[in-house]
Symmetry: none
Subunit: 556 residues, 2 copies
């Protein structure tokens, strides 16, 4: 027995900042939190270290910004909670993925070395670095041609966002960096290495982003067929694969110095932000789809059986909780689309009205749109502003809006965009149901939860009750649970989820009349989806090709 309450810390490394939350290990009560914004944010137009311009679709980060989160946000969360740092028994982290960096054998990032710091390929490639599409296409096409058994586990396509595409781009564009790197490591694992002093690969990113299936990576002959120099790539990945919830090591002296925590406390195996949120909402069994709804939406789900769901991002055994199949799907643009519309499509009057009402433009448009009947705007959109991740897996698809008349008003467009993302979610649910991975409840987390009419719209569109996580810090809470398991406070993630998970059940129930009206609109969405996504996918691909060519001519 411990004399006083035990505490654990979860740290969520997002796209623009890291958030630390201090949690009571017994029951998951969140006692203090703090955020640290990355000084270098996302480098997509120029490399901070040299001022050199970056090509289109690049997205880099500085790993030292992550260390600063440990130095700033962790002590601040402890201070905010007002507890003795000595009561903290474990720390765990989750990361965006696939966010990946080249390092030496001791974990030193190449970008810290004078020899390499002016090489863009020496830096962290953020998940949304989309410049490896040619490599991704070759990886998919070759795998399909050879009948590689793992391709079906990824819905039939390997994304440009993932490890092998990014590594192949690195090799082909900067062989010097490729030769100098001893390891190509997920940031999710690198941060654990810095905290616990141990190099390990978590099963989650290894499976979803690293094509690690059934105990192995893609074979050397396949890699050599992609590029002879790429044959030995998997030697640059850590051979030690670690199950989620395990103890990676004890907090090192230097990490204790950064964080103000006790040396030697449990450091958990790394995790991914979306996946770690499932147990935070108490999800440890099949049938309940978890959606983390923010700038993009990630869907995760558990299954006892392996199924190949067309267009999913991946299925990995142990990828979410041990011993179950973890499924992942996603929508590349959700909140991002609403933000785009407010910035690029909403006229001054609406901004002024919102200001006068003391609410955000998003809230104003949402409220005006929600006052209408289903279908009253006469619009249907395809939510592909950022391409389509699931179920079409094509980042050259683009947005569509149909049905405008001279009477169409901005709040109607905004509502149509919300609905389009809900229809996109329903497509994903349909794909899971059709593949035998039944979805009977929808559980939501993420920043869009605060938009209640949007959540109600989702319930009406998908025709399922929606439960919501009862935490503003879902990923960090999920990480804290893994810290509690690693520290031995709870025997496993199942027990931790029961004790610490936070969920409000069935907060949104579908309205029968609206659901039926949405069925009709969803059928129209399906027709548009299949036309632009299947029958005439070439149209958008031609538009994209013309755009790239015209922009290149403009640069000359």
């Amino acid at each position: 027995m411990h004399p006083s309450p035990q505490h654990v810390i979860g740290v969520d490394f997002g796209t623009l900042s890291g958030r630390a939350v201090l949690v009571r290990a017994e029951d998951g009560e969140e006692l203090g939190e703090a955020e640290h914004v990355y000084a270098h944010a996302v480098m997509s137009s120029e490399l901070a270290a040299s001022g050199a311009a970056l090509p289109p679709n690049w997205a880099l980060q500085d790993p030292d910004d992550y260390i600063e989160v440990l130095r700033q946000a962790v002590p601040a969360a402890v201070a905010a909670a007002g507890v003795d740092p000595a009561t903290v028994v474990g720390i765990a982290t989750d990361f965006t993925a696939c966010t990946v960096l080249p390092v030496l054998a001791d974990g030193t990032p190449l970008c810290r070395l004078d020899a390499w710091r002016e090489h863009p390929h020496a830096w962290v490639k953020l998940w949304r670095h989309h410049a490896a599409q040619p490599q991704a296409d070759r990886i998919t096409d070759l795998a399909a041609a050879r009948g590689e058994p793992w391709l079906g586990r990824y819905g039939g396509r390997i994304s440009s966002e993932w490890e092998f595409a990014k590594a192949l781009q690195l090799l082909e564009e900067d062989p010097g960096v490729y030769a100098a790197m001893d390891r190509f490591v997920e940031a999710a694992d690198w941060i654990v290495w810095q905290l616990g002093g141990v190099e390990l690969r978590n099963e989650c990113t290894a499976g979803y982003k690293g094509i690690y299936q059934d105990g192995r990576y893609p074979g050397e002959d396949y890699l050599a067929a992609l590029n002879p120099q790429f044959a030995g790539f998997t030697d640059k990945l850590s051979p030690a694969i670690a199950a989620l919830g395990g103890r990676a090591g004890g907090l090192t002296a230097s990490a204790a110095g950064w964080t103000g925590l006790r040396e030697g406390i449990a450091v958990a195996v790394g995790n991914v932000d979306a996946h770690v949120t499932a147990p935070a909402a108490g999800i440890t069994e099949p049938g309940r789809m978890m959606a983390i709804m923010g700038t993009s939406t990630c869907h995760v789900m558990l299954g006892e059986q392996l199924a190949e769901v067309p267009g999913m991002c991946g299925v990995v055994r142990g990828g979410i909780v041990p011993e179950q199949w973890g499924y992942e799907a996603g929508q590349s643009g959700v909140g991002d689309i609403f933000a785009w519309y407010v910035e690029a499509g909403v006229p001054p009057a609406y901004h002024e009205q919102a200001r006068a009402l003391g609410i955000s433009v998003h809230e104003h448009l949402t409220a005006l749109g929600a006052a209408q009947n289903v279908g009253e705007h006469g619009l249907i959109a395809l939510d592909w502003w950022s391409g389509n991740r699931s179920v079409l897996v094509d980042h050259e698809l683009s947005g569509v809006l149909v049905g405008m008349t001279l009477a169409t008003r901005p709040h109607e467009v905004y509502r149509a965009l919300i609905e389009a993302t809900a229809f996109g979610t329903r497509k994903i649910i349909d794909a899971f149901n059709d593949a035998g991975v039944g979805v009977r409840e929808f559980v939501a987390a993420g920043g869009l939860l605060k938009n209640e009419p949007l959540m109600q719209c989702y319930a009406d569109v998908i025709g399922l009750p929606i439960s919501v996580i009862d935490s503003d810090q879902g990923p960090a809470l999920g990480s804290a649970m893994h810290a509690a398991v690693a520290a031995g406070v709870h025997p496993d993630i199942y027990a931790a989820a029961r004790a610490m998970g936070r969920l409000r059940r069935d907060v949104y129930e579908p309205d029968a009349e609206r659901a039926s009206a949405y069925d009709e609109l969803y059928a129209l969405y399906g027709r548009l989806h299949d036309h632009f996504g299947l029958s005439d996918r070439e149209l958008m691909r031609s538009l994209a090709a013309i755009r790239v060519r015209a922009a290149r001519e403009a640069d000359r």
Copy 2:
């Protein structure tokens, strides 16, 4: 011989205002002009007389606003010219069409009567009243089933904008108004009736909008098959058909009082704004397509032979100038779409930039868009915000925008909308060429002329030189020519066009490189066009039906 210069007045009744121009009859020199804006503009959401809400797609006007144009703009134009009103020898008018109203046998509009003024159907239905689509569909389908010989003269479809569709809607929705009206009269003829005291039907609207072909209206058995109560409808149309350029009568004492002109001067037979513009630009022969480009675009063309062009609005012998076949086609929304976008889709920053630059938002967006290469925005739009007049003849079609990404900027959307209207024009030119009515020159008039990058874009898209009318008041100048013919100053419209017509030849020449790039985008436009307009036309029709039903439920 007249002792001093003779003057004539043309009055152009547009969608939002009427413009009067005083012209020297000898050579067409414009000496003075004035505009009067309609007090009630377009009533599309509520009826001013009662405050009652109007259903979707309605568009009404108040005929007394037209009288005010005679009272205000005509004397103001005379005053602006600084000439003696006694030197004005004739007046002529042109109108939007089909803009139509129910009146008593003496010409009194039903909406002026207390018994009817709260009935929406008692008011003027503006050309863009689009609520009679179900009736238009029945009119077309029955004519096709019966093999009515006139259907091919209208491109195979009767528009919801036209007289029979509007009248049948009136009958079926408000039989009381239908029974009370002695005449259902084009505003083009009603205004001449008010000026000259004589009820006549001009050949132009009778033919294009009233299905008057080869000396007769559709037969009674056809009308009875549409609706037994509709059998006698043509009794409510004036039996006296008058050729364009004729003298309808002499200015009445009351009209002389309104206008300040001499009683008894020539009042010409009424005309339509688009058609009257052809002679104003000197067009009195085949091969030259005239486009009046404003809120909508109307295309008119002459031909010596009768041809049935699919999707044209109509072909009428004597409909533009005597003894030639006059062809009409059109795009329901052009400038209206750009105005919609600036009002409903352009964010504050662009308004502020335009203000700082001292230019309009339209000019700002045009300039930013024109700085890009063809195709650089990655967008394609279908210009159907107001439905599609030619070549699909369907006002339940609606706007489409394809290709948006998170990087899409407002000036890119604006340019895509301009291009969509140019592609729509090219579709019409293609239809005429394919039907053997060759288009070798494109002549433009109307408010969009002042947007030079837009005009250049049209030249690049259609691949033809564009000549432009050398007058800001094309329709009113054309009307003034008809006044000169009615007054006997010129023997016929051919002579008047030679003496008074004004044109600048080949002002815009297509650029070969841009034209070739546009060929590629036009092919994509064609694919979208055929998908939404032909293969899956039901999609937009379903959206429109859902919108109307949902709006009706909201009213309950």
